[in-house]
């Protein structure tokens, strides 16, 4: 695991009268414990990884409370865990990154929702949407609608978020339905505070076990014929119960305002952005008091018609702020206006952009346009327009400062990353045998799609690369190469890719990046991780698994051996072997390795043992400044600097002090026959007297020879 969460675990132990200060997603975690959750599961992914990371490390606290924690192998396995709450009055929570995780989980979620729950079932999703997002931009709202799960989108302050975690369980139990709590990226990472409460040990738990399994009840199965009555129950029974609970517990919030003719209905998650924009327009203060009345929907599904009608009645116009598309809330409100025969004008996506995040700028422009259209009394329209124009003019002026656009700076493979050499090898192979169809995947290796490699024809989801190449292979002369991480392999590539490929005699090439962790999300352990903290054997080895599945062509290559990798790749591309050819590219995640080495080396140094620290360098006199090494590597520590040689104009390559001595420079220089400017240098620390003597003799002779 990348981080140790010692101080965070301490925060989870806080009780009545103390103040929790920390990150949003940790506040959710604390909320779960305060609500007496019995079991927790999940699959890592930004922005919710920390929830499971912290809980899996908080073993003492968990066993004290009796909370069972699982690091599931994918979101479907996490979602299915909630099945415990179908038959037992226990609270369970699971978490993942949405939309992708919800997609993977959706089968189990449909079945769960149909059967219904008696213990609270809460799904915490991090909506990876908008700036900083790493996945396709879709809404989770659809899933809530289609499966009759309730969707909470709380105001993004810790007090409200934690309150709604607790209320979410109650809502789930009151309406026998699973509840989704959705948090945006910035809300997950927000640093804030709330008044803590004591944790509650669940009634049924790993330390208070039940004696009797639940009695057989066909009604709790999502299996025909009860699925037909379950569909009716969702609409006729659970939905009204949910609405009643929402109303009675005031989960949605009405904010009064001086202006009577207009109002705004918004998703809770947009509250803070809106309040600041109103404050900038001098229509609100810093403490949540707005001149325009607001209806803040902390629960965005189901809507409560009475609340909507109560808010819209007697208003000339109401603006609906709903991020993403389609605009489900706005559409429902339109229907309600029609049904209840209100002539309140409803504005929304006709003024705001149909797609994309509601950033501060988008929100400001939309508000000014809305007010300009409605012209409510009591607002100085000219002033609001002036403020907006002043801000956008400043922004425009800034944009024009640049003559040419700045190059982007996307994330990239870390210095010394074991996956980079594989792309160097593929690039070399391509120079030799021509372009190839490359099926990319989710994981750190997706950075191979950026410069300097620019490789990958499609990304179809986590662990999906091989499956995505199945069709392509049938009509391409050359074999396809699919790239998959070990994380993706265990997540589902094993089944959807390898097994299906074997079953259908896929002739392609699969490279599995075995770096030992789910690295992109923070180095969580996976079934093939070698635990450094204990001597336990790995749960499953990838190589063994592949063999037992029936993979007949299998090679394991150390990733940094670029020449070898090119050779094996060439063999895989040309071998007469007809079936799936799998190459395990083996190399431990460098971040994890460096963290380990740092401790190990320190121990050795303290014990007086010799430690060699390698680094690479470049002779600037030998470098001709053609940078082919950079085009084959892209390592952050391999950079350029002005040529010290006055006669040459082009900058020379240089290696900075971040170099971890992974050796790729030398390997690439060799494999590509690039140039002899690279050298490796090792500092021998804690050298013994023999080494030092030898060093003195050598230096003496070399000095004499050189001069």
């Amino acid at each position: 695991m990348e981080r140790l969460f010692k101080s965070e675990i301490e925060k989870l132990k806080l009780g009545e009268g103390q103040t929790f200060q920390g990150e949003g997603i940790l506040a959710v975690t604390k909320g779960l414990l305060q609500a007496g959750v019995s079991y927790v599961g999940g699959y890592q992914g930004a922005p919710v990884s920390h929830l499971v990371d912290v809980l899996t490390q908080a073993t003492d606290l968990m066993s004290e409370l009796g909370v069972h924690v699982e690091a599931n192998t994918n979101e479907a396995s996490a979602a299915a865990m909630l099945g415990a709450s179908i038959n037992y009055p226990v609270r369970g929570a699971v978490t993942w990154k949405s939309i992708v995780g919800t997609n993977v989980a959706s089968d189990a979620l449909s079945n769960l929702s149909s059967a219904g729950v008696i213990g609270g079932a809460l799904i915490v999703v991090g909506a990876d949407y908008g700036e900083g997002a790493s996945v396709i931009q879709e809404r989770t709202h659809n899933f809530a609608l289609k499966s009759s799960m309730w969707l909470i989108d709380p105001r993004p302050n810790l007090e409200t978020i934690v309150h709604l975690v607790e209320k979410g369980f109650e809502l789930s139990e009151a309406s026998n339905s699973p509840v989704i709590l959705e948090l945006r990226i910035r809300a997950c990472h927000v640093q804030g505070e709330f008044a803590a409460k004591n944790n509650i040990a669940p009634e049924l738990s790993s330390i208070k076990k039940g004696k009797h399994p639940a009695p057989f009840s066909y009604a709790r199965l999502s299996h025909p014929p009860v699925t037909f009555s379950q569909e009716h129950q969702k609409i006729e029974k659970r939905l009204p119960q949910a609405r009643q609970f929402i109303t009675e517990n005031h989960l949605n919030e009405f904010f009064e305002g001086d202006l009577q003719t207009v109002g705004i209905i918004l998703q809770g998650g947009l509250f803070n952005t809106l309040m600041r924009r109103l404050a900038v327009l001098e229509l609100a203060d810093l403490f949540g008091n707005s001149q325009i009345p607001l209806l803040v929907l902390n629960v965005v599904h189901p809507l409560v018609p009475d609340e909507i009608i109560r808010f819209c009645r007697d208003k000339k116009a109401v603006l609906v702020l709903e991020e993403g598309n389609p605009e489900f809330i706005e559409q429902q409100i339109h229907v309600l206006m029609r049904k209840f025969d209100l002539d309140t004008q409803i504005a929304g996506k006709d003024i705001f952009p149909l797609a994309g995040e509601y950033t501060a700028e988008v929100m400001l422009k939309g508000l000014v346009d809305f007010l300009g259209e409605v012209e409510p009394e009591g607002i100085d329209l000219e002033q609001t327009r002036d403020i907006a124009i002043r801000l956008s003019t400043e922004k425009e002026a800034a944009r024009h400062l640049l003559e040419e656009p700045l190059p982007p700076r996307p994330p990239s493979f870390c210095t010394g990353c074991p996956e980079r050499p594989v792309f160097s090898a593929i690039k070399l192979l391509k120079e030799d045998i021509g372009d190839l169809h490359i099926s990319a995947d989710i994981g750190c290796h997706a950075f191979g799609t950026f410069e300097p490699f620019s490789m990958g024809n499609s990304i179809l989801g986590y662990g999906m690369s091989l499956a995505a190449a199945a069709g392509v292979g049938s009509f391409q002369e050359k074999r396809t190469i699919s790239i998959m991480g070990d994380g993706g392999f265990w997540h589902n590539g094993l089944q959807t890719g390898v097994l299906s490929g074997l079953f259908n005699k896929n002739d392609g090439v699969l490279i599995i990046m075995q770096n030992g962790y789910a690295s992109a999300t923070g180095q969580q352990y996976i079934p093939s991780s070698i635990s450094t903290s204990s001597d336990l054997p790995v749960t499953s080895s990838i190589e063994r698994t592949l063999k037992s599945l029936g993979v007949g062509w299998l090679r394991t290559v150390r990733t940094y051996s670029v020449s070898k990798m090119v050779e094996i790749l060439r063999e895989a591309m040309t071998s007469p072997y007809p079936g799936l050819k799998v190459i395990i590219a083996d190399g431990e995640c460098m971040l994890a390795r460096q963290r380990r080495l740092k401790t190990e080396n320190q121990k050795k140094l303290d014990a007086g043992k010799t430690v060699r620290i390698p680094r690479f360098g470049i002779d600037e006199e030998v470098c001709t400044g053609d940078h082919s090494c950079i085009r084959l590597s892209g390592c952050p520590s391999l950079t350029v600097k002005s040529n010290p040689d006055f006669l040459r104009d082009d900058p020379v390559a240089a290696i900075n002090e971040d170099c971890v001595g992974c050796g790729l420079c030398g390997e690439v220089a060799h494999a590509a026959v690039l140039c002899p400017s690279f050298y490796k240098v090792e500092k021998v620390q804690n050298s013994n007297s023999r080494q030092r003597f030898l060093h003195r003799v050598r230096s003496g002779i070399i000095d004499w020879l050189a001069n």
Binding site: D285, L286, A398, R399, T624, S628, D649, H695
Partner: protein, 505 residues
């Protein structure tokens, strides 16, 4: 409902790159504010855990203590807005400019930025100089905000063995922008308990920086590897050549004396004769490129560079090795048949190369060598190669290079008839011929193609272009920008298709 000026939070945006500790910096500020009872909120979009990508952190802090707010709770926003940032921190020059061009640095903003560059991959990839013009970036940064503090914070961090985030915290804490004192920040570093010593060093260095007045940074020029001046040539250079070219010529003479011997340097001067009375700029450009071409890279040259007396000291400095600390150095060589043939007599080389081509060994046969130059034996191997300098003029490659150089010089003289500018660009084409192995081969091919399909047709009047030097410059830049992705062919075809032939007119 007026938004009273008192009730406005201070807004802070941090632009950093993964691995620089931007998140830790954010937490130090937040924790300090909490400690002192100020309402504060911060958030970020770090996304994936990888390093080097650009990312931002956003903080809002109300400079009124919680106890003075009569129980009211401020609503902080999570999204920074253009035109509304009070304090912008940027850990790198281009990221500072990115923030500026996104409207986050305006008349209300104090900008604290590091003026060092971390190049993006796209900038580093070009075979020529793909770096964004630093002057342009600096100009934008210097004029930004109501106040700005620019310094090489990266260097300060390195000098103090800390990470750049601690230096920024130090600068920030000394600026009186927040209602927090430097000892409050210092306490946060201590209480966090991670790398306290180095963080405090960085913090103190940042704080001390502010006390220096006029702390604009003037980077010293990169260390030069100029060799000692060959004084005996000075007279001829000063008498015969335009002043503008003299510096380059002196460097060239030194370089070639070191590369081969003094008579080779004389040859260099002789070769420059046709250009002495023409445009000084052309003379300078030819001198620079000629010196580089005449000192082409071969095994002997590499051995020479790697056995210089000063090299070992330089490398020891790079890794900060103590005087007594042993250092091991490994060199990576992989000469093939062509590289070895470079050094053999022409008659033998031609035969071997023919055989190698026929048997397909020209590319495939390579001799992988890891030479440890920190051992006496390893060093001797290279020193022995270096001593082969006397043989070089009898080698196969020598003849080849001299012939190609003569051709190139004749072409430049031809080009002078068209214009000096055209001749300068023709001289600059030599920049394409560099590197080793396949890189060298590809560069030479590109060079030949441009010469045969553009320069020569231009000179022969088969292509008439208004500004041939501009086209030539573009062709060179295109070729350097992405040498593996060869779109030179199509570019040349396009020129041929659109340029009217002078003869037809």
């Amino acid at each position: 409902m007026k938004n009273q000026e008192n009730y406005r939070p201070i807004t802070i945006l941090i632009a950093a790159m993964g691995g620089e500790g931007g998140g830790v910096l954010m937490n130090w500020i937040v924790n300090t504010a909490w400690q002192k009872g100020y309402p504060v909120q911060a958030t970020s979009i770090p996304g994936v855990a990888q390093r080097t990508g650009a990312t931002t952190y956003y903080i809002e802090l109300l400079p009124i203590k919680r106890q003075d707010l009569d129980g009211k709770t401020p609503v902080f926003t999570l999204n920074p807005a253009p035109g509304e940032i009070d304090l912008m921190l940027a850990t790198e020059l281009m990221e500072a400019v990115r923030a500026i061009s996104n409207g986050f640095v305006t008349s209300r903003t104090t900008l604290i930025a590091s003026n060092h560059r971390v190049f993006t991959t796209l900038e580093k990839m070009a075979a020529g100089d793909g770096r964004y013009e630093e002057e342009k970036l600096l100009k934008i940064v210097k004029n930004a905000g109501k106040r700005n503090i620019l310094h090489n914070f990266s260097n300060i961090a390195k000098e103090n063995g800390s990470i750049i985030n601690a230096v920024f915290l130090g600068v920030l804490s000394g600026m009186d922008l927040l209602p927090l004192k430097s000892e409050d920040f210092e306490r946060s570093i201590r209480e966090e308990g991670k790398a306290v010593k180095t963080n405090l060093r960085g913090f103190q260095a940042g704080l001390a920086l502010l006390k220096l007045t006029g702390s604009s940074s003037n980077e010293s020029n990169p260390p030069s590897i100029r060799l000692s001046r060959e004084t005996s040539f000075l007279f001829r250079i000063q008498n015969d050549f335009p002043e503008r070219a003299q510096e380059a010529i002196k460097d060239g003479v030194d370089r070639l004396t070191d590369y081969q011997n003094a008579s080779y340097a004389v040859k260099f001067l002789d070769r420059l004769e046709p250009f002495r009375n023409g445009s000084p700029d052309l003379c300078r450009e030819v001198a620079k490129n000629l010196a580089v071409r005449m000192s082409y890279e071969d095994i002997i040259r590499v051995a020479q560079a790697k056995t210089r007396a000063a090299r070992l000291e330089r490398i020891r400095g790079e890794i900060e090795a103590g005087k007594e600390e042993p250092v091991m150095i490994t060199e990576f060589f992989k000469p093939g048949i062509p590289e070895i043939c470079d050094l053999l007599p022409p008659s033998l080389s031609t035969k071997i190369l023919k055989w190698a081509e026929k048997t397909g060994r020209e590319e495939s046969t390579r001799f992988e060598m890891h030479v440890k130059t920190s051992t006496v034996f390893g060093f001797l191997k290279l020193k022995a190669l270096e001593k082969l300098r006397w043989w070089r003029p009898r080698s196969f490659r020598w003849g080849l290079e001299q012939e190609q150089i003569e051709q190139w010089l004749r072409l430049i003289v031809e080009a002078m008839k068209k214009s000096d500018e055209f001749a300068i660009e023709t001289a600059r084409l030599a920049r394409l011929i560099k590197g080793y192995g396949s890189t060298h081969k590809r560069g030479t091919e590109h060079y030949q193609r441009i010469v045969n399909e553009f320069v020569k047709p231009c000179l022969a009047g088969n292509i008439s272009a208004k500004n041939p030097q501009v086209i030539l410059k573009n062709l060179l830049n295109r070729s350097l920008a992405n040498p593996e992705k060869n779109d030179l062919k199509s570019a040349l075809a396009k020129i041929h298709a659109t340029m009217p032939s002078a003869n037809e007119n």
